[in-house]
Every structure is written in C-alpha cells, then in structure tokens.
C-alpha cells in the first residue's frame, strides 16, 4: 500500500460528527495525516480524542462526514474493515487477554490455518519484533509481562496485521520515564520504515519533541492545527484550555519549613497481598502535620497495599505503626476513621462509591455513624438529601439531583464526592492515592487546591502518585517505593525527575 505521488495524505477526515446521548463527541472534525508523519492530537479529557480515534478504527460509525484512506473513500462499520485498510490502533487500556500467550494475542482474528502451527507463528513474531526493536517472548502469558512489554505486544499486534497508520492513544501515560524513552525509539523505527503515526498525549514535553504537526481538540471541535516549528507549548496550552485564565488554574505549593508534630510513623512494616505473597517488606515512612509526603512508584509496587495497611483495610504482618504517638496493633477501618483518617482510593469507581446507590447514600460511606443522617435512630432520607445538596454546592459536584445514581457521575465529580465526604469529618491524616488521574484540568486544579488548603491548615497528607509532575508540584518530601521496598526519600528541593525515575524502576537507590 504505497501512497500515490499525487496523493498527499495517507488519511483524511472531513467533517466527522459523532454524537452520544447527551453530548456531541465530535463536531465536524477535519484532520489529515501525511506519509511518515507523527501528527499529535492534543486535548483535555472529554475533548473527543478517544471517540475520534474509535471512529477511525471503525468501532463507531460516524453520523456525518467522510474518511479517506490513501485517497479512497471508506465506510467502516466494524474494526476489521479499518484493519484491512492498514489502520491499527494501540488502545490506552490494553486490549489484551491476560490468560493467553503473546502469540495467541497477536494472531487472534488474523487468517490462520485451522490447525495452528505455534512453532512457525512464534518464529514469525520473534522476527517481526526484532525488525522494530520490539523484543518480547512470544510464548509468555500476558499476565507475566510488565506494562511496557504489554504495550509492545499491542504494537506488534497491529504491525502483524500490516498496519501502515498507527494510532497510539496516550501510550506513555502508564510508562516509566525509561520505558517512555524506549517507546520513542520504537516510534522512530516505525517512521523510518514508512509508517505514519497519530499520537495522542497531553504531556507537552513529549508532544513538542516528537510531533511533526499538532491538532488541538476541545469540546469535540478542532481548535487548530499547527506545525511544530511554528508554535510553542504556551500557545498550545492556552488554546487547549479555551480562553480561560491559566494562571488562575495553576496552583502553587508553599513549602513548610517548620518542623511540626509527627502524625504518622511506620517502621519495618511487612504485609502480604490477598494470595499471601509478601508485597511490603520492611517499609519505613514518616508524615508530619502540615506536610505533604509524596510517594512515587510504578503502580503495582506495593503502594496500594501500604495505603490499605495504613487505613486499616489490610492487616500488617510485622512492624510498628505509630499514629499520633499511639502504637496501633491491628487497627480496623472503623478505628482509623474514628481517629480522623481520610482515604481517597486509587480506583475511585471501584472502591470509592457504591455506583447504583444515590449520591445522598454515598455520603454515608465511611460516615454512616454521623448523627446528621438520622432522626430518632433511623435513617432519614430528607436529612440525607439535604446534607448531600449542601456538599454538592460546596464542592461543585455537578449532577441533576442528589437522588441520581452516583455511578453515572463523571470521574471528576466522583472524585469531588469522595473528597467532600472524606474531608467533611475532622481529619488528621489524609491518604490521597492518584487523586487526579484521568481528570480534566478544572477538576485537577480544584482537587489540588482543596488538598493544599487543608495542608496549610495543618493536615498531614500522604500523596501516592505515578505522575511526576504532580509529585513535584504538590509534595514537600518525596519517598520512592519499588518492589515493596522504600528505595529512598529526600526533601523535594534535593530531588530531580531523572533520579526519581531511575529509583522507581529499581535501577538506582539513594
């Protein structure tokens, strides 16, 4: 499939419109991709990037507009057709089957002989991988692979299908800095072998270093397309966020220099996961009042379990846990709530809310003893609703009514609900795990402001994050965890991003 010389674009979208109940996700979007080009699509969450990519990949047929691939008009009604035209999508949430091997994942859905010749196919995939620098063992099961390796499988999957146009949907969102570097190299390799790439990201630094052209999407519309050399990060950020004042949204973090009381101190804590394997080994941590301690680490290295131990969900096997000077032996969740511990869980939809109950009911989670909900010993729905209405106003939670199911709220509104609930008690210590992951600029700024405000009033905060920008913006002191061990800690002023990145992957210790 070579581009004819008179055909400047390998892919062209004209006036693509796609609506879902209640929202227009893409509104007359025009977009072009040249041979051998990296064209970035930039935009906030909810700007319509993913929908547009799914339209190109054939998952959603558009209501209006036309798609031209290598100069030919196409109508995709299912993904197979787009694959046939040489389009391959690498999804942000990997579309891999964890129980299957790499080979099984790659060949799934491709024409093969009825009786599978695994030896031949394994070899084929090994060779393809070598060609692009995508090394991965074809016989391993997906669940045995690291996130970076899984992503390579995703890329191999589309290359195996002969994709010439690759869509990479926020590919570095889940990678460590080192893994990201490796990916950039792979992208270069692919460009050299005549592939064209649509790159989706909101990390300005990589966007500016990788892209040839950049298209900014906002509320489903194209806000502009720019050649990299003729623009800069500031301009793009301004356009992306509309005409609002950026300064107002940015938060600044006052560093606390005074030494305050130690709120939480753990020494040599060990804990197991649900299956009984040790996931925390001899972890030390100290958090003081009025201080935000940032805990950096690649997800899955024990952060979640540490948060669970501290909040009383998971028992510790050994070690000491001192909370406001009191040694705790086997604290329960209720104990910790009573002691003023707030916890914003990493997986907010899974842990933080009961999705089919009303917003009002969700304010009772972790707060069901609060007398404000009761009248004469029994729950009073009017009081519950009234409480919810007040909190919704206070925390800018946008919903038609407090009676609707919490599960239909957007991620940002769910997070605000959780924050409202957790911070409405007299808090002494807050664990915030990935508090802004996947949120748009406004929700992010709001949540960060609330946390910083609480800190300045003396709250001790443990911030668990993978996002190094957030880590450096918010923290006063940084800890790094890798493979269940604390590999080091330092005041923020003494830390730098490269060092933290290396420590997260276990390459360096401080």
């Amino acid at each position: 499939m070579q581009t004819p010389p008179h055909q400047p674009f390998v892919l062209e979208l004209r006036g693509i419109t796609k609506a879902f109940p209640g929202i227009i996700a893409n509104d007359h979007v025009d977009f072009t991709l040249k041979q051998g080009e990296i064209h970035t699509i930039l935009g906030e969450n909810g700007a319509g990037k993913s929908t547009l990519m799914n339209v190109i990949a054939g998952l959603y047929p558009p209501e209006q507009g036309e798609i031209l691939v290598f100069g030919k008009k196409v109508h995709f009604t299912n993904p197979r057709q787009s694959i046939k035209h040489g389009i391959g999508m690498v999804h942000q949430h990997f579309m891999l089957i964890r129980n299957h091997t790499v080979t099984e994942n790659i060949i799934l859905g491709t024409p093969q002989r009825f009786k599978l010749d695994f030896r031949r196919v394994n070899e084929e995939i090994r060779r393809l991988g070598e060609k692009y620098g995508l090394t991965v063992d074809p016989q391993k099961k997906i669940q045995e692979l690291s996130v970076g390796e899984q992503q390579r499988v995703e890329i191999l999957k589309v290359l195996y299908r002969g994709a010439k146009i690759l869509i990479l949907d926020e590919p570095t969102a889940v990678l460590t800095p080192q893994e990201s570097e490796a990916l950039y190299q792979i992208i270069e390799n692919m460009i050299q072998k005549d592939h064209s790439i649509i790159f989706i990201s909101h990390k300005m630094k990589e966007v500016m270093s990788l892209s040839d052209r950049i298209t900014v999407l906002g509320r489903g519309k194209v806000l502009g397309t720019f050649v990299k050399e003729k623009t800069d990060a500031q301009e793009l950020a301004k356009i992306m966020m509309g005409n609002e004042e950026i300064k107002e949204l940015l938060v600044s973090s006052p560093i606390v220099h005074r030494t305050q009381e130690v709120v939480l101190q753990v020494e040599k804590i060990c804990a197991n996961d649900d299956r009984g394997y040790q996931v925390l080994s001899e972890v030390d941590l100290e958090v003081r009042a009025g201080q935000i301690v940032g805990l950096a680490g690649v997800s899955g290295n024990g952060q979640a379990q540490l948060a669970e131990v501290l909040s009383g969900i998971r028992p510790m096997v050994s070690g000491t846990y001192t909370y406001w000077g009191e040694k705790l032996k086997a604290p329960t969740v209720s104990d910790m709530i009573a002691r003023g511990l707030g916890y914003i869980p990493e997986d907010r939809k899974r842990y933080g809310i009961a999705g089919s109950l009303s917003i009002s009911h969700n304010f009772l989670l972790r707060d069901h003893k609060n007398p404000q909900f009761y009248g004469q010993q029994f729950l009073n729905i009017n009081k519950m609703n009234q409480y919810a209405r007040i909190k919704m106003q206070e925390f800018d939670i946008r919903a038609a009514s407090e009676k609707i199911q919490a599960g239909v709220l957007s991620g940002g509104n769910i997070q605000k609900t959780i924050l409202a609930r957790e911070s409405s008690r007299a808090l002494k210590f807050l664990i915030a795990s990935q508090p802004i992951r996947g949120l748009d600029v406004h929700a992010t700024a709001f949540i960060q402001k609330v946390i910083l405000q609480a800190k300045s009033e003396g709250l001790a905060v443990l911030l668990i994050t993978e996002d190094l920008d957030e880590l450096f913006l918010m923290s006063d002191h940084i800890y790094v965890i890798c493979d269940g061990k604390m590999v080091g800690h330092m005041p923020k002023e003494e830390a730098n991003i490269e060092q933290i990145g290396l420590m997260m992957t276990g390459v360096a210790v401080s």
Binding site: L59, P79, I97, L108, G109, F114, K115, L116, R275
Partner: protein
C-alpha cells in the same frame, strides 16, 4: 461374587462409566458454552428435554441413532431461547439459566405425561475387538455402548479444537475478553451463539442417555438433579474437557456405589444414600474452591457471565 474384590471393583467401574456418561456429555456441553463466555445453568431442563425427545423418537421409530440426533436437535432448539435472551437481549445469564431449567422440566413433564409406563429397549453394549480383551481395562472402558464411545470421541475432539486450532483460540478468547475479539473483527454474537447451541446439543445427548441406556422408561423428572451436578462439574473440571472426563467418572462411581450398596441391602436407609452424590458435590466444590483461592490463579474464563455490547462505555 466376593464383595470389594477385584471383580467387584471392575463391576463398579463399569457402572461408574455408565452413570458418568450423561454427566460427561453435560459437563462437556457446559465447558463449550462457558469457554465462550455464557453460563448455562439450565442443564437439568435441557437434559430432560433431550431425554424425553430421545425416548419418544426411539419409541416410535425404534432407532437409537435418530433418537440421539433428535435429542440433540431438540435441546439445541430450546437452548437457543437461552442464547437469544442472554446474548442478543443481554439478560442475566443466571436467571435465564434458571428459567431454562424450569422451562425444560415443565415442557418434558407436560409432554411426557402420557408416556409414563411405556418402555424402550436398552442400547446394547458393543465390545471393541482386541481392546476389550485387555483385562479389567478392556471390560471397563471398551465393553460399553456406542454412546460411551462417542463421548470419548467428543472429549478428544473438544480438547483438540479448544487448544490446537484457530477456532478454539477464538472461542476461548470470547470467554476471556469479548471486547478484544470485537475490536479485532470477530463476531462475538456468532461465536457465543455457536457455543451455547452446540453446548446445549451435547447436554441434550447427555439427557438421551437416561432413557436409552440407564432406565428404558420415562418418568417425570427422569434426570433427578444430575444436570445440576454437571453444572458443578464444569467448575470442578476447570473448564477442561479431559478433566471433565475424570470428574464425570468420579461422580459416576459415587452414584454406582450408592446404587450398589442400596442393592446389597446394607442397613442404611436408601434416603441417606440418595443424598450422597449431592453432598459429595458440595464437598468437592468446596475443596476445589479453597485450592483455587490458595493458588491464586483463576482458570475461570474472565468474561464468564457478562453480556457484551459494543460501545458500552458511553
């Protein structure tokens, strides 16, 4: 005959395979359906539909082969309701399975009411030359009826298809991650319908074994709960056809033993012996679950029981 001697054990084993064969067909049917991602709790009802159909056809046409084929077709047809309700209409698979169980037992009870008291001839044993001459093993495994041999073939065939072919890879993927299959252009509907219906047909064949071999007559509720044991056996077998064979024969042995002890007139009231296979099932299921928890790996198809609909996220 010496009780508990070698000869006695062989006799029990022969009976174990007879008793285990309907369970085996049922479990295999369940394995196919669940590998594709759809639970079929309605096995009891499907077996009854298969049993009644086989009985009626054999009674009128006097052909075991046609009887088995019709049983498969009838059960396949009835499972199609389950397939439509769960796959196209996206309803709860467990509730639909229960509806299927009620529907099947009701239908067979209604249509079979006038047949109570009639009998058909039992399917003959057909020793396989040479193989049946092996001492003990030959008598147990190769001096059986055609349906038993067919069940061996099914085990081998299903194992080969599931793990060695493209078709099998696609089926297994449907049970693990239908959204991935859909994104790669495989038709989730087509595969799932196929798995549920083919699975249902096998379950129906399992039902046919009751009147054609085990009882020779029809009574209301002929399968007496064996369909539910097969549901449990699918979990016990870790969704694997070869382990399904082991599980089915283990339970076949339990039932054979129960009948044998009953026949020997040992002073245990028969009502307690009747409880035995059910209690054994619960005990075994508990052990399997505990072991699974410890090993921490789930062999259960990840998308089992979940309806699929493209673009669900919006």
């Amino acid at each position: 005959m010496e009780t508990f001697g070698m000869e006695w054990i062989v006799l029990i084993m022969v009976a174990a395979i007879k008793m285990g064969t309907p369970l085996l067909f049922g479990t295999l049917g369940g394995v196919i359906s669940e590998r594709g991602g759809v639970i079929n709790l309605g096995m009891e009802g499907l077996m009854l539909v298969g049993a009644l159909t086989a009985f009626v056809v054999d009674l009128h046409l006097d052909s075991k082969v046609v009887a088995v084929m019709c049983a498969a077709l009838a059960a396949g047809l009835v499972t199609t309701i389950h397939a439509i309700v769960c796959i196209s209409l996206r309803a709860n698979q467990i509730a639909s399975g229960l509806a299927l169980a009620m529907f099947g037992s009701g239908l067979s009870g209604l249509l079979g009411d006038s047949l109570i008291g009639k009998t058909v001839e039992s399917l003959n044993n057909l020793p396989i030359p040479l193989l049946s001459a092996i001492p003990a093993i030959g008598t147990i495994f190769f001096n059986q009826d055609m349906m038993v041999y067919f069940s061996y073939l099914c085990v081998a065939l299903i194992w080969f298809i599931l793990f060695k072919t493209t078709l099998g890879l696609n089926i297994r993927s449907m049970g693990e991650a239908p959204e991935v299959c859909d994104a790669l252009g495989l038709s989730v509907f087509r595969y799932r319908y196929g798995c549920v219906i083919v699975g249902g047909m096998l379950i129906g064949i399992g039902g046919a074994y009751f009147p054609l071999v085990l009882t020779s007559f029809w009574v209301d509720n002929l399968t007496a709960g064996r369909g539910w044991i097969a549901v449990a056996l699918v979990i016990f077998a870790f969704w694997h056809p070869v382990k399904a064979l082991l599980g089915a024969y283990l339970f076949g042995a339990a039932i054979a033993l129960q009948l044998r002890i009953q026949a020997m007139g040992i002073a245990i009231p028969s009502y307690f012996l009747e409880m035995f296979p059910y209690i054994l099932t619960i005990a075994v299921l508990t052990i399997v679950t505990i072991r699974n928890n410890k090993r921490g790996l789930s062999v259960m198809p990840a998308a089992l029981g979940l309806a699929f609909f493209r673009g669900e996220k919006h």
